[in-house]
Structure formats: C-alpha cells, structure tokens
Amino acid sequence: MHRWSSLAIVAGLFLALKAQALTPQQILEKSDENVTKVQDQQYDASMAVFENGKLLKTVTMTIALKGLYKKLIRFTGPSDVKGMSILTLEDGIMYVYLPTYKKIRRVASHVKEQGFMGSDFEYDDMAQSALSSFYNAYLIDENKDEWNLKLTPKPGSNASRSRLDVTVRKEGFITNKVTVYTETGAKYKTQIRSNYQNFSGLFLPQRIEIISHISNHKSVLDFTNVRSNKGLSDDMFTKRVLMREE
C-alpha cells in the first residue's frame, strides 16, 4: 500500500512537471484544440461598429461553420445587406449570393483586403483558425494565469500576418487576446475574446472585440443561440443551399 502511494505521488509530480514543461508551440497547439475539436457550430451574431465610442452601425447575421474552412454567413440586417449570404470553402474559395440579382458570384480572395462589412474584422477573423499550423510560437513571458506568446510565420506557410502576440489562459488553454502587427512591426489591431462558455469540454468565446490601433474604431461581435457539434451536413455548405432564401 505504501509502495503504491509513493508511485502515485511520483506519477503526479511527473505529470505536473510535464505540464510545466510544455513548449510554446505545444501551448499554441493545445489552445488550437478548442477550435479544431469543434466539428461544427451554428450561432446568431450581432456585430456593432464604433467610432470614437459612438455606435456607427449594427450588422446581424446567422453563421454556420463546419471544420476549419466551411462557413456560411447569412445577413439578416440592416436592410442594405439583408438577404446577402457568403459561403466560404476550402482553399479560400468564396461565393456571395446577391439577392438583388438572385445570383451567386464567385469572389476572389483579394476582397479580403477590404475588411468585413465596414468593420475592423477581416474575413479571416470570421473563421476558426488553427494558428499552430501557420505560426511558430515563442514565449514572451508568463504569470500564474497566462502565457504570452509571440507568433511568427512558419517558413513556406500561408500565414497572413508577419507577427501575432497571443495571450493564452492556463485554465482550459483559452486564447484571450491576439494582437496583430503590421509588416513594419507596429501594432495594427487587438482582438479580445471573452465570455467563454464550456461546450462539452470545449471553451468557445461568446464575444470578440477588435480594437484598431490605427484608427478610433472598435468592432464587437456577440454570439447568441450557440449550438455546436450537431452534425451539420456538408450539403449545407454548397451553392445549391446558398441560393435558398433562408
């Protein structure tokens, strides 16, 4: 009995030491698991855009995601975008449904440069992403609650940013904050994720806030009616379904 107790203590110490010994890349991978383990998600979203603290506009939409790449956004307001839908598939393939013309148009990925509906979000911000596939992680510092990591692109990867700083909470490996830098090394914008909820062991944010460092802009995306891992069909992410008035 005494011998078994000693073994248990040794094993516990070993596991604790192993957790502490996680490399920055492993921390990033663990954080990504909150994203990659979500097979699908559906939610309603409301995006508010502020300038100098004053609300400029609110865009509402429903969003369905499957895996890391399939995404269907249907805009429900305001009226100038209502009925418009965006379907994104693997390899950056993107379609937009234009209700005025009842037409689906292929959209080249250069439009991502335009930002998302006049907000500080970009199209990539609207997708789930596994950062560890594209970036190498380095530890900046840590405290008892968080790690601060610096991410730089992996050689040959399609990383869209030259540098990201990421704050990962130790409990649940939750990414709290992402700061994006410009090519010249200046801060470009900061993404703050909050209101995390536990979905069967997966922690997902219910609010994403983007603060621009180059303008007086702020955009806040709030999620409601969140459902995850409901077994969404691949058929839902097709041009045939995009044409439907939903």
Partner: protein
C-alpha cells in the same frame, strides 16, 4: 372502415403537428425607395423623366424542412399624372398611377431526395460568371426600361430542378412554359422614327439598297413628313412548341468554377421583319409618310460556358470568362417603299441569318488597396445585340471606392464602344457640305466611330438601413454609334433614397 379513416386522420394530424413543430416563423421584409431623375441632354427639353416611389414587400415562410414559400410584391407609384382629359382627372389611377411588380412567388421543395431541390413558380434565374453582361443568361427576359439596371432580369413562371449528386457537381433543368419578352426602353419609340438608323440587314448589299432608297426622303426633308410608324409585334403564342428549356451543369475543379449550359427558346428582343410605307395625305407642300412595321422574336439555341476563379500569380486577382455560341433562326426583313417611291423594288433579305455567332465577356477584378476595387470587362456583343453582323466590341470599367467604414462610397463606371468602321454607303449629297446638322448625316460613312457611357455615383449610407445615391448617366457619341443613337436614350442625373428592414 370508419376506424381506418379515423386512424388515417390521426396519422395525418400527427404529420401536420410534426411539420408545424419544424416550422419557422415567417420572415418579413419591407423596403421603400424613391427615385427621381432628370433628362439633361439628348432631349428636346430637359426635365424630369422619372419620379418613382416603390414599396417592396417580401415574405418567406419555411413550413418544414422540405417546404418553403417565398413571395415578393412591389407597388410602384409612377409619379406622373397620365391623363389630361377632364374626366380622366376624376380617376385616381390616372391622377396617381401605379403598377405592381413581383420578383418572386414560388414554392421551394427542398431535399426531395439527397441533393435534389425543386422551385416552382414565379422566379428570377440569372446565369453566368460575368458581371451584368451575361451571354449565357437567357432564361429570364431583361428589363431594359431602366438604363441604370443594365438589363436586370424580370421574373417569369417556371419549374427549376437542381440536383447535386456529389461534391460541387450540380445539374439544373428548367422548363419555362410561356415566353416573356424583354421590357423595352421608352426611347425605342423615338428610335423607330429616326430614319438615320442603320438598316438592320445582315447583308451589306441589302443594307446599301435600303440606304439608297432612304436617301430619297432624307435628302428631301421639305418634301416628306415621316410619321410615327404603327408597330405590331408578333409575341410567340402559348403553344407547347414555344416552351423554353434550359439545362446547366456546373462544378468546381482545381480552384476554378466551371459550367456548361444549353438553352432552347427565343431571343427576348424583337427584330424587324416587315416595313411597308405609303404616302396617303398631302399636308401643304409635304407628303405624309405612314409606315406599318412588324417585329418578331427569333428562335434560338444557345450553347454556353463559363469559368471563374482567381489568378495566384497576380495576387489572387479575380478572373472570369463567359461565352455563348448562339444558333439563331433565320428571319427575313421585307421593306416595301413602293408606296413612297413609285417603281422602287421591295427589298427582302435576312435581318438575322442562320449562321451561329459567338458572344463573350471576359473580366477581372482586384483590390489594390483596402478601400478600392477595380473591375474591368471586355464584351463581345452587348445585351441587345443579336446576329453575327450586329456584334460590337466594348470595354467596361468600374472603380469602386469606400470610405468612412462604408458610409461613403464613390463609384465611377464607364463603357467604351471600341472603334468600328462605319460601312454605310456615302449617299449623294447635293449640298457637298455635309455637317452634323444635315438630315442625312447619320446615314453616311463617318469613318471609324465610337461612343461612351460615363456613369458616376456617390453613395451615402449613414446608418446602415438608409442609402442615398446620387449620380449621372451620360452618353457620348455620334448618331450612328451604339450609345449615341437616339434609341440609347437620354443623358440624365438621378437621386435615389432607400430604406428598409
């Protein structure tokens, strides 16, 4: 027996309850827009040409996972009183006329089997990868009444079936029981009375003979008074033979979207098939020329293709190609001026010959900086051009800019008709000093001719739901050119506002 009926009723009630359990609340939409325009050039007298208010209502209801209903109805208040008779002004429909339009009144049957949808009823189908000018888009007729819409489709009643057996592969089959023609612009009437319009013969020889005859009254404006012709249009009847069929297969491969399509039906623009002119009244020293004109819609079959994607070696610039080979029905035009010019021959020659012809649009778009998007297209054969001899070449460009978080947009669009050789026959001109003011100027060989459209707009969107658009639509070019001819309409300025939920 009664027990069976009760059991069946209960089962049915159960299905209804189950169906209702899946039903979603109806979704409503309402838009109100106001559109005021003024003709500023190429008209006898500048003034307001549109004063339209539109109330657009839309409702969709998903009864269950297999059935969805969509209905849209627009009430359009025209804004111009349409009667100047005393009794007419006692009727509100004359004093404040309006019309109804509908883009949608259909039932969607969804996932009938795996990957199989059907849409039955009034709907718009728009095909083609290109922007606005789509040679493969022939199922629905064009609305040419509004030049700012560039041929936006009008809905028609049809049955459409979509089947996606695997991956991105989708097959579409459409049956349109009854043909609907394009809505023509008001300027078509002015074009009919413009004797300098080109004769639409496919054969240059027939066109030359027509021009020589026409010279008789063009060169004698003090002798002849050309009256507005009486034009009849033969719209295809409602027989089964005149049903239209369209098929399409589309798929994605290697990052490119592709499609092949087929259409069997009619061109939605009528062509002249018969002109008979007579002189019947003496008016002072002038002879009144009356013309009876007949038009018809040529049958056609269309084989189309399109391709769209992006070019990685050009920073993912968007790129598309869309083309269609059109196999037209031969249509003959007969021009009988024997009643005006005694002894003249009746000229009969194809207005559309049966040689297949090719229309195409090739384009690209790019975002050089976050607030600017560029779009350029080459067009072979404009929306209204039909027949191998009638096709022109055009460049279309759009610069779209957005500022202040999309609250301000400035869009500048332009169309250029690429210069073409005017093949008119030089008519005898006794004055020997032909100028643009000469009555027969448009009927002469003017060398290479070109024309332009300049279409600037400013869009203000202060609070999301409200959009205000102001701009102009300006036409430039000589009388015989694409955008300079009378039929192209007037240059105008406009102001629109729209709001909705």
């Amino acid at each position: 027996m009664i027990r069976k009926a009760i059991r069946a009723s209960l089962c049915l009630a159960g299905l209804v309850v189950a169906g209702n359990a899946l039903a979603e609340d109806p979704k409503f939409g309402l838009n109100i827009s106001s559109d005021i325009r003024a003709d500023v050039d190429r008209v006898d007298k500048p003034g307001f040409s549109r004063n339209e208010n539109r109330v657009e209502g839309k409702v969709s209801y998903k009864a269950n996972e297999h059935i969805e209903l969509v209905a849209a109805l627009d009430a359009v208040f025209i804004g111009f009183t349409q009667d100047n008779k005393l009794m007419g002004l006692t009727d509100r429909t004359n004093v404040d006329p309006f019309r109804l339009e509908s883009d949608a009144a259909y039932v969607d049957l969804l996932d009938i089997a795996k990957g199989l949808d059907m849409r039955i009823g009034r709907q718009i189908v728009q095909w083609g990868a290109a922007d606005m000018i789509n040679p493969t888009d022939n199922v629905c007729p064009d609305d040419l009444s509004d030049p700012l819409k560039f041929g936006k489709n009008i809905a028609n009643q049809m049955i459409k079936v979509d089947y996606s057996p695997w991956g991105s592969m989708t097959f579409t089959a459409i049956w349109v029981p009854v043909f609907r023609p394009a809505q023509l612009p008001v300027s078509v009437n002015a074009a009919m009375t413009d004797a300098t319009n080109e004769f639409p013969f496919a054969s240059p020889q027939a066109r030359a003979r027509g021009e020589n005859l026409r010279a008789i009254w063009l060169d004698n404006p003090d002798t002849y008074d050309l009256r507005t012709p009486d034009v009849d249009v033969d719209v295809p009847d409602f027989s089964f033979d005149n049903s239209q069929v369209a098929l399409k297969a589309e798929w994605e491969a290697g990052g490119w979207d592709m499609s092949l399509s087929y259409y069997k039906g009619f061109d939605d623009m009528p062509v002249l098939i018969d002109v008979k002119s007579t002189v019947d009244v003496m008016e002072g020293e002038k002879l009144g020329v009356n013309s009876a004109v007949k038009m018809a819609y040529p049958r056609m079959q269309v084989l189309g293709f399109d391709l769209s994607g992006q070019l990685p070696f050009l920073d993912n610039m968007g790129f598309w190609v869309e083309g269609a080979v059109i196999f037209p029905e031969k249509k003959l035009l007969s021009i009988d001026l024997t009643g005006v010019v005694p002894g003249a021959e009746v000229i009969t020659s194809p207005v559309v010959d049966d040689n297949p012809f090719f229309k195409a649009t090739v384009g690209a778009d790019y975002t050089p900086i976050s607030w600017m998007m560029l779009n350029v297209q080459y067009v072979r054969g404009f929306i209204d051009e039909f027949g191998a001899y009638a096709l022109g070449n055009y460049m279309v460009g759009v610069v779209d800019t957005k500022f202040l978080s999309d609250r301000l947009g400035i869009r500048v669009a332009g169309i250029t008709q690429l210069p073409r050789k005017d093949d008119d026959i030089d008519l005898p001109d006794p004055a020997l000093g032909l100028t643009r003011d000469s009555p027969s100027y448009g009927a002469h060989d003017n060398g290479y001719i070109t024309s332009y459209v300049f279409f600037p707009q400013v869009m203000v969107n202060p609070w999301g739901a409200l959009e205000i658009i102001g701009g102009g639509y300006f036409l430039f070019g000589p009388k015989e050119s694409k955008f300079g001819q009378i039929g192209a309409g007037s240059s105008l300025v406009f102001l629109k506002a729209q709001v909705g939920f």
